[in-house]
């Protein structure tokens, strides 16, 4: 009885294995666009894993102020709301730019990319002013473990936004110089994924770093 069952299982397994092979042979290979999107998504996930280490460090150290200022003394909710609005709108503009590129519409692509860049730059400006203000108050990254982990986490995100802005300008220049070529379009796609991922990480930051601290 049990042998018969095992035989049947092997049979079913083999058939489905063959079925999978036939199905795979019938389907054409995924397009380069899908493959490069997947590859870049793997990179982004590794970046998210790296950020999660910074988040873990911050979550562990956020109370260790060493007698120095805590988040409640330093954070300004209005500025955080403004930063969040800038990044969310720039993420939206980036999506519009990717549609503009697919539609080969210069006006939509360059217009939306410019909006993305300006909103991203506004975010960075607000963040740099926040950092400068904190350092001027003597609350720099060397003051306490809380501030070290704060500057590491938020600064790492800011660094990503800075690099993203450079990439954004490069993509505008490449489309201008080379047109909406298939390989350039794949880079535009990857840039979009990168920019949207930065917004996802910012959601984590404004929740864990700012709102949690002010809710205490």
């Amino acid at each position: 009885m049990s042998i018969a069952l095992e035989d049947a299982r092997i049979d079913v397994g083999r058939r489905s294995y063959l079925g999978l092979r036939i199905e795979h042979a019938e389907r054409s290979l995924a397009s380069k666009r899908v493959i490069s999107g997947f590859g870049f998504w793997i990179f982004l996930l590794s970046d998210i894993v790296m950020f999660s280490a910074f988040f873990a460090a911050y979550a562990v150290l956020s109370g260790e102020t060493a007698g120095g200022p805590s988040g409640k003394d330093l954070f300004d909710l209005n500025r955080v709301a403004l930063e969040t609005a800038c990044l969310l709108l720039s993420s939206f503009a980036c999506g519009v730019a990717s549609i503009g590129a697919r539609a080969r519409s210069d006006f939509m692509y360059y217009g939306a990319m410019t909006a993305t860049a300006l909103l991203g730059a506004a975010f960075l400006f607000l963040e740099i002013r926040e950092f400068a203000g904190m350092i001027a108050l003597g609350a720099g990254p060397t003051r306490s473990a809380f501030l070290t982990s704060f500057f590491a986490l938020v600064g790492c995100h800011g660094l990503h936004v800075t690099l993203g802005l450079l990439w954004l300008l490069t993509m505008m220049a490449q489309v201008f110089a080379k047109g909406y070529r298939a390989d350039i379009m794949r880079r535009v796609l990857c840039f979009g994924l990168f920019w949207h991922t930065l917004d996802i990480i910012w959601v984590g930051i404004f929740t864990v770093v700012y709102l949690m601290e002010l809710a205490k």
Binding site: S52, A59, V60, L77, F92, I99, A182, A215
Partner: protein
């Protein structure tokens, strides 16, 4: 570089799905998708900012509410902005995301769990100073 790379000598029908030029209907659909995403994300963000400062609810529930809202917003970003869905074309992306999430949860929850226990079991610093005298 080959002709398929430059795309100069190609007709739209030779391109893979998704590589061809978008028409008016696709543009409208795409914009609508991003607008829905923007609307939902804005809504959740506003709720999160209000919840963080409210005194109307039981205070220890606020951090949990904030975490739930953040996860919901991340999901909205994934679906409407990054287009990571459960569709057939996106299956590999979804599997990679699941594995990434597993690592992220292990890292954050594991760190917090271990460090809270260590903190709990550690001798207060005053006691250590007392013992040295």
């Amino acid at each position: 570089m080959s002709d398929t790379e430059t795309g100069l000598h190609l007709h739209d029908s030779d391109l893979a799905p998704g590589d061809e030029r978008a028409d008016g209907r696709e543009i409208a659909e795409g914009i609508r998708g991003y607008l829905v995403g923007l609307g939902l994300a804005t809504l959740i963000t506003v709720v999160a900012f209000i919840v963080s400062g409210t005194s109307l609810v039981w205070q220890p529930s606020i951090p949990i509410a904030l975490v739930v809202l953040a996860i919901a917003q991340m999901g909205i970003h994934l679906v409407f902005f990054l287009h990571i869905t459960t569709g057939a074309e996106s299956l590999n992306n979804m599997l990679a995301l699941m594995f990434g999430l597993l690592i992220v949860v292990l890292l954050i929850v594991g760190s917090l769990w271990i460090m809270t226990h260590l903190n709990h079991n550690m001798m207060p610093i005053e006691r250590i100073i007392q013992m040295q005298h």
